[in-house]
């Protein structure tokens, strides 16, 4: 999260803050208008001035309610986006593990397959796992066979396909 570019989320935060500030100011204004209209009403009765004041007060109150509603939607959207991101991150790794299990990969094969997905070639995987390159190549061909693909690119595209 720290290395991610921040501007978009900051912009959204500022947007919700701005709407919230407007709603608060509107609420205060609505309160004064309503109190004033009620005061005038009890003093002068139902004059045209009071009717207009009451209309303005009503509009302000309606604005506050709608503004609050709008803000709720903004906040809910932000939360959903955040949740979706978390789910997407977790979901991909869950999905990969499920596939490996379904294909019947052994623990060692799963490790090798994960490296392969991350773009390592047989020599690199052998080095990383401290195994002989021949062993890794054998494991890779086992993996491709179980997954029903013919190359590393085919293996990667299986998962890329899910995302596109």
């Amino acid at each position: 999260m720290t290395t991610r570019p921040k501007p978009p989320t900051l912009g959204r935060d500022q947007q919700t803050l701005l709407v919230a500030v407007v709603v608060v100011v509107q609420a205060v204004a609505a309160m004064f208008f309503m109190a004033d209209a009620l005061g005038d009403l009890s003093e002068a009765g139902l004059t045209r001035h009071v009717v207009i004041e009451a209309l303005v007060a009503f509009a302000l109150v309606a604005g506050v309610v709608l503004g609050a509603w709008h803000l709720r939607i903004l906040l809910a959207q932000a939360e959903r986006r955040e949740q979706a991101l978390i789910v997407a991150r977790g979901a991909l790794s869950d999905h990969i593990n499920t596939c490996f299990r379904e294909w019947g990969l052994t623990a060692a094969e799963s490790d090798v397959a994960l490296f392969a997905l991350k773009g390592c070639d047989a020599a690199q995987i052998a080095e990383l796992r401290g195994a002989a390159p021949g062993t890794v190549r054998a494991q890779l061909s086992q993996i491709y066979a179980k997954a029903g693909v013919s190359s590393q690119a085919g293996l990667v595209s299986l998962f890329l396909d899910e995302l596109l």
């Binding site: 720290t2 919700t16 205060v28 609505a30 004064f32 109190a35 005061g39 803000l71 709720r72 978390i86």
Partner: protein, 232 residues
């Protein structure tokens, strides 16, 4: 439950703005403005608006801010107390059960303060500088009302009480006036008692926040301060 608290707790901007706005209004009316002055009434109305907005937000607001997220429940409180006793820290997205009770108590008290204040002051004066209303009398009509009362008292005094039934109308007016005066005093009492209760609740609230911060970390405070608990 586990993944429900992935994200750090942060109150939404309406909750923060109304909270700190009400804090400012309470401090302002406790220390800065004169009792019953025009500005006192204006600040009181601002507080009323913020409180109304927060209560509206409790109905239509964000998930954590809605009343349904923190129902006042003694069962939850007793569970919470047992957790405190056994030292287990459960994170709550909204108020914890004790905090919820505190929130409702403070809102109820604020409603009494605002209600009694509005009854005493009437609508906000057009020019807050013009009203320096003395203690309790409040509102632009303060002096006039007093004069009226004096006038009525004199009028009542001029009518011999012995006539009794024959002067029903003035007698009634007199009674009304007396009731009004008693009402005024009643509201003044209410206002003062509620305000003192409010101070007590604020002290308890601060103590609660301090306690919860020591018990379960800085997040409690961070969730309410501007820019606090940012996720990075």
């Amino acid at each position: 439950m586990e993944h429900a608290v992935h994200t750090r707790r942060r109150w939404d901007p309406i909750v923060k703005l109304t909270h700190w706005g009400i804090v400012a209004a309470v401090i302002g009316n406790a220390i800065v403005t004169g009792e019953g002055s025009g500005w006192h009434i204006w600040v009181g109305y601002c507080l009323a608006a913020l409180l109304a907005l927060r209560l509206l937000w409790g109905l239509v607001g964000s998930r954590e801010a809605r009343f349904s997220a923190f129902p006042p429940s003694l069962a939850r409180v007793s569970t919470h107390l047992r957790e405190i006793g056994s030292g287990t820290v459960v994170r709550h997205r909204s108020h914890n059960p004790l905090g919820a009770l505190m929130a409702y108590a403070i809102w109820a008290t604020l409603l009494v303060v605002v209600g009694s204040g509005i009854v005493m002051s009437g609508p906000p004066p057009a020019d807050p500088w013009a009203v320096s209303g003395e203690h309790g009398e409040g509102g632009a009509g303060g002096e006039d009302a007093e004069k009226d009362k004096d006038g009525d008292d004199e009028a009542a005094a001029r009518i011999p009480g012995a006539i009794g039934n024959l002067v029903i109308a003035p007698a009634l007016a007199d009674e009304d006036n007396e009731a009004g005066m008693e009402g005024e005093e009643l509201y003044e009492e209410m206002h003062e008692i509620a305000v003192n209760l409010l101070y007590l609740l604020i002290a308890l609230h601060l103590a609660g926040v301090l306690f919860e911060t020591r018990r379960s970390g800085r997040e409690v405070v961070g969730s309410m301060i501007p820019g606090g608990n940012r996720r990075n």
